[in-house]
Amino acid sequence: MNFALTDEQEFFKKMVTDTVDRLVVPKAREIDEKDEFPRELWREFSKLGYLGLRYPEEIGGMNADPVTAMIFYEQIARGSVGFAQSVIMNILMGTYFVFRFGSETMKERCLYPAMRGEKIGTMCFTEDQSGSDLSATRTTAKKDGNEWVINGTKMWITNGPIADMATVLATTDPSLGNNGLNFFLVEKGTPGFAPGQVLDKLGCRGTVTGELVFDNVRVPEENLLGAEVNKGIEYLGEILDEVRVMTAAMAMGIAQAAFDEGLEYARKRVAFGKTIGNYQLIRAKFADMATEMEASRLMIYNAAWRIKEKMNCRKEAAMTKMFATETCLKVVDEVTRIWGANGFAHEYNPQRHFRDARFLLSGGGTHEIIKDFLGRMIIGKPR
């Protein structure tokens, strides 16, 4: 066993931590308050090359291993979740299927610009009646000659309103359930493809999230992102674990940001003649928070290591997502308590972390779905 980060990983961690402290942290409050995509920060951040985090060096990426990627996801979320969601969407879900299945011309048009931040990508799963249950997807893709015709409406799409390109989940036949699903690339400017309503969210503000409408959108045959038709659910499996563990890493980013705020406050807030960090009840909160955060990180690194080693980690990834999220929710709650009434004031950051953390309850799988899944893995299918 070896629980240490490599020298490269340590170096990367320091580098990205510094970057986030310098560029992102000072903007976090403004991003939250304005609830607009921070284009200027995006441009500045894009120059540093992180958007190519997971992709090979030959195409301009950083070739980061999964552990390194988790370090990045945590740090960027620590800075600003609103910004992190947009960034991670470009790094992972919004570009993966183009990287995996796209033609060279498609990559030149979409992937490489996205890695440079010149294009913004997204992935669209959710619809008004399908979220946890992807087999209920009603967006359809029909073959017409050498084109696919896509019809439907997607909901809760991260980067949706500003996306230059979307990887869209659609079914060739709704009666096939999970066995009819496919991913298609749809680019901005394609007739019939348009953003709809923009959502006003509790947290993760600054990420623009909204509806995407597909009204007889025609894309060429090669825009089916997959080696075969109707294997979408299988391809999704290639990144599902990473997405779940990534969500856990984001949870740790939020938790760490809140924890640091709590620590600072406990050290300076005086009550009954002493700083409150002297009281055992407050100290125990830090002990509990630190314990569960440490546990979460171990789960994250363990799962990331399994992904790297190409070991099965469906179960571990699901556990990690759930555990880290629940930890984060506890931490943001405790920190608002440590802050007393100030935890309730928009003037300070704890309330932002409290709001931001709630997104984790659906992103990466609700805990009801995760428990259902774990139950199946351990006990078998319900009879």
Partner: protein, 381 residues
Amino acid sequence: MDFALTDIQRDIQNAAREFAEKEFPNVARECDEKEEFPMELWKKACELGFVGVFIKEEYGGAGLGYTEAAILMEEFWRVDPGCGNLLLTSFGTEIIQQFGTEEQKKKYLGLIPSGKAIMGCGITEPNAGSDVFMASTTAVKDGDEYFINGSKTFITNGTIADVILVFCITDPNTEERFGKHSFIIVETDRRGFEATKIKGKMGIRASDTAELSFNDVRVPIKNLVGDAEGYGFKQVMHLFNLNRLLATAQAIGAAQGAFEKAVTHINKRIQFGKPIASFQGVQFMIAEMATKIEVGRNMLYKACWLIDKGIFDPKAISIAKLFAGEASIAVINDAVQLHGGYGYIAEYGVEHFYRDAKIVEIYEGTREIEKITIAREILGR
């Protein structure tokens, strides 16, 4: 990073599992009911090399690490915590190995893995538990002997040990509170030593626990652990770091044992026309239990890895024990719950875990002391 056990560690794990599954069930219920230490089982465990594996080869041990010791403990507790604590017959060797004189190491350490003797360690007193500085048993120098007076309580192996390391005040007048205490090795056949078994423990009833009294017990000066007085506190902390690790392994082992019993039961138990495993409410409990165990085990192995690298990080160790203890209690509580009425009956083999596991939140540092340790590392004193 590398989260895999080595091949040797896997072999040890399998051997421990095989031994525990084969041997423990024959005696566990009876030892629990009668509050008897499983003497024959302990001898067999020694013959197979399970006891004191961390003792160096030059002193008659296997020269393995604490990771291996933790794996053994985990596997033993998975089957039966009371019997599993036979591994604690090496309790105290950690101190001699780290701080003892060469003569002491040669004299005492080899006795333990070979099953020639049982060791114990007397720290707690009626008025000194979490606050070890309160320990008031005295060792007063008289010529070339110490004479020891005082009493100890809750001492593991108290009535079966051949040798006990006793935490005594050797310098009552020092201003330096860390320099007040020392460990003295006491052979239990010495005059003035008396051990009285404490009966009626809630769990780990096969593990021996006693009150000790020292009434002018005389031992030679060379029985002082190490070369100098005043290092008792440092030595206690070393022991706690290691035994907190083993307690973490105990917590995970017990949780795993109860969890497996629950999974078996819910697949067999039919209610409302279906195995209760098919109900979502039950599946959710199983999902949460499995998650807690998985998280706890990661914490355990990280702490093991640190210790085997020679890094004694009290925060990491306390974090592991705090988490694993709470997780274990929660998992076992659910395992009993999933057994319904059967969970409450000894015959079905799950209720004892409920009684056994609680000790992990008490000994080797209560849950509250772990929190104090962790918070101190974060917030300062």
